[in-house]
Subunit: 468 residues, 2 copies
């Protein structure tokens, strides 16, 4: 366990640290006002403890990041890297006396190359900024987490984040070709490549993706791009039971279709959305399925998928006629989390991914857990991936309700593992699920992961207390 | 460096080893006849030294593999895992006194699930066997190395192999969701998942893919499948210069097309094919480009690509009318390596991958190198990926020609690195390129890769002498 120097004589130690940092960083890049540094303590997860940072640094260059890491190594101070802090697992939460290393000022798009279909970016680039920039050149950066208007590419890489597009286009990991990483001791490592293929040595690039800042600081990324697909056309289908909707998902995937999104909202979520907005969703809807296709001619797929939904028992099937109508149909889905937050003030968002053939079992189990704990738990799901976000609604000022919320959150992860799934499809482990990681990957897995961590961060200063 | 016990008293030590292996393996799974074990010494690479195995084992179960590894750990004997030995880098070559661990008898397809779109297989399953089995269910396992009728899935995973499909469908790595791995000490590790997504902890699955048997023995793999696409339609285009063909590749990729293959043959290769078969290729062809599309309606893409080829200076554009004609057009490509082998008896196949925008520079450079060394070097390329296979033809009985062949092979790798590429797009490092790995990934990269190796294989018994 690494101890920050602040434990001995906090003010003195912090002064030393600040002074050392200022030797290689401009004054405006080093924040020490406790009111300001405290505002960097948390990401968006509930139930995750956070400490008070000693200092927040906002480097603008690779050299400045190297200076921060050399200083941290020398003084044995923990470093917590941060992007936009939109994470949902506490992976970016500060620890007491740490250096918060915010990468948000390193936000340049360095290159977009339409022939090689790559972009080279700094970690602080906002996902939406990159998506729009490549879109202007007819290119497409698929990963689209819900927070895409705010979250950074560096954060996306750290958590290997996903989104609605994954059922067709895969997750962030599949778009990271190469990285420049500042190591714990300040040395610079280049991994991977800027070519379409490459297998020279162990895949270190992939090791950093999803490592939640625990192995090194990503300071530059080479990302793969795709050509911009045609605008997607959406179909909405209502079902009288969640089981029927899940059956439709299985039929669609078994039928060989490749939707560009395949999302599910359960009745709790539909009701929550109805409560805050008039979306025209029938109160009797037990499950709403949204499927989309972005092929040059989506009509045959939409017709076939509509028929499969009806065969599975859909009570209504509404295909959009154009992009505008498609966007309207997606509005309800986009409002889901806001609507569920409004139910009891706070939510805890699970991220269990199961084989899609077990989706119905998961949703049924979540209903049982909600009944048992007398809580509202809405399920929104990237159904095509089997990746569900059971969202536990609770009143954080009510201690008993908060306890039940945490218990049900954990029971949902246990259920996910029981169904052959994983505790996290796209949000990461962070602080929130670190006890659960061991249950998923077992003692041999943990031992080897710790061994790898030790290779990259022998002093344990990189984002300590996360993952394991 | 690990020393096999055979160094002290070879026969005695080999006897001990065999006896210990037989305690957990049936007699027919342990081969000790030197004539037979010698036949397991090599894969298909030229210029790669190989030793004499002490014993070859052919386990059929996970438990038997565990027994082999426990025995090897106890006796400190190196273990060289092997699939079908179709590799081109010497990665499966035996070392003196080693246990050759052939996984070819673990060849069961354990599960094919069309809803979850996964297959679960043992490592010895032949690529083509799996491809056909999933094809019967309307599914598709894309990775298609040239050796697909012989090579095993375990070998494909070990080398992260590619093929013609990669320009649209990516490499083997992208299809490996989870693994069961027997570690150096015989313990069993499960990595990854059978779900579409999952980010619990470091990506250990990906670490094993391409690790060339140096981190553990893959005994089971969960593979992602796609729906079977329509049969592809091929277009062939002839060019008066290789540069014009490369220009066409850039225009096609920049134009947003997604071909299911995009292959290039240079004039040397075309000539070699003409010399062994009458394929109707004009002797004046300086470069032949093959593009294919497997969308429901490939006509618009084929027309557009044909026009782009003409704009880039194609002298002839021949689109196929149907699948049979498409297959004919691909025949020349499929014959390329056989044809180049016939030139001087032996070939050394480079595997340099460059950004596709530098493809023309690479081909031009290879011509210079061929001239300098007075050798025939044909280039076949997965052009859409920038992944080239400059194939050095030489007479292995001629010492000087062999020396020049090896020199030109190395010069091509140097050129690839100079152009921002990698020394290996899909064949791996093995023995052949291990000095080059350090040049590509640098001393910090090598140090960290060695550190990772040490975590998984502290005694250094797994495929020693490969990669580093």
């Amino acid at each position: 366990m690494i101890m920050s120097r602040t434990e001995a004589a906090p003010d003195q130690a912090r002064g030393d640290l600040t002074e050392r940092l200022l030797a290689g960083l401009p004054a405006e890049a080093v924040l020490t006002d406790p009111d300001i540094t405290a505002s960097y303590a948390n990401d968006m997860a509930s139930f995750c403890p956070a400490g008070a940072p000693a200092v927040v640094v906002l480097p603008r260059t690779v050299e400045e990041v190297q200076h921060v890491m050399r200083t941290a190594t020398e003084l044995r101070v923990p470093v917590v890297p941060q992007g936009a802090r939109t994470g949902l697992s506490g992976g970016a939460n500060a620890s007491d006396g740490c250096i918060v290393l915010s990468l948000t000022k390193m936000d340049r798009i360095l290159e977009i190359n339409p022939v090689d279909r790559i972009a080279v970016v700094e970690p602080g680039v906002i996902n939406a900024t990159l998506s729009r920039a490549v879109g202007e050149l007819g290119l497409y950066y698929p990963p689209d987490p819900s927070s895409w208007e705010m979250c950074t590419i560096g954060g996306n890489i750290g958590t290997a984040s996903g989104g609605l597009c994954c059922v067709k286009y895969g997750v962030t990991a599949e778009y990271v070709l190469g990285l420049d990483v500042v190591l714990a001791d300040g040395r610079l490592l280049s991994t991977g490549r800027r070519t379409a293929k490459g297998v020279a040595g162990y895949d270190m690039t992939r090791l950093f993706v999803g490592s939640e800042g625990s192995l090194g600081i990503v300071v530059r990324a080479v990302l793969a791009l795709k050509p911009q697909p045609p605008q997607q056309l959406v179909l909405a289908a209502e079902f009288a039971t969640a089981g029927a909707a899940c059956d439709a998902v299985c039929r669609i995937m078994e039928g060989g279709h490749v939707p560009s999104l395949l999302e599910l909202m359960d009745r709790t979520t539909v009701k929550a959305v109805n409560d805050i907005a008039n979306m025209g969703l029938p109160e009797t809807t037990e499950a709403l399925l949204l499927a989309a296709f972005d092929t040059p001619d989506p009509a045959p797929d939409l017709a076939a998928v509509g028929a499969l939904c009806e065969a599975a028992g859909a009570t209504q099937v509404v295909p959009a006629d154009d992009a505008a109508e498609s966007e309207l149909l997606l509005q309800a889905r986009r409002l889901s989390l806001t609507a569920l937050e409004a139910v009891r003030g706070v939510t805890m968002i699970d991220d269990v991914c199961v084989p899609r053939s077990r989706l119905a079992d998961l949703i049924e189990g979540v209903e049982r857990i909600a009944d048992k704990h007398q809580l509202t738990i809405g399920v929104v799901a990237h159904a095509g991936d089997g990746n569900t976000h059971p969202t536990v609604c609770f009143d954080a000022t009510d201690a008993d309700e908060s306890r039940r919320a945490r218990e049900s959150f954990d029971e949902i992860m246990a259920l996910g593992l029981e169904l052959g799934g994983t505790i996290t499809g796209e949000h990461g482990v962070g602080v929130l699920k670190k006890e659960w990681l061991a249950r998923e990957i077992g003692p041999v897995g943990i031992e080897l992961q710790r061994g790898v961590k030790q290779v990259f961060d022998p002093l344990g200063i990189l984002n300590p207390g996360k993952l394991f």
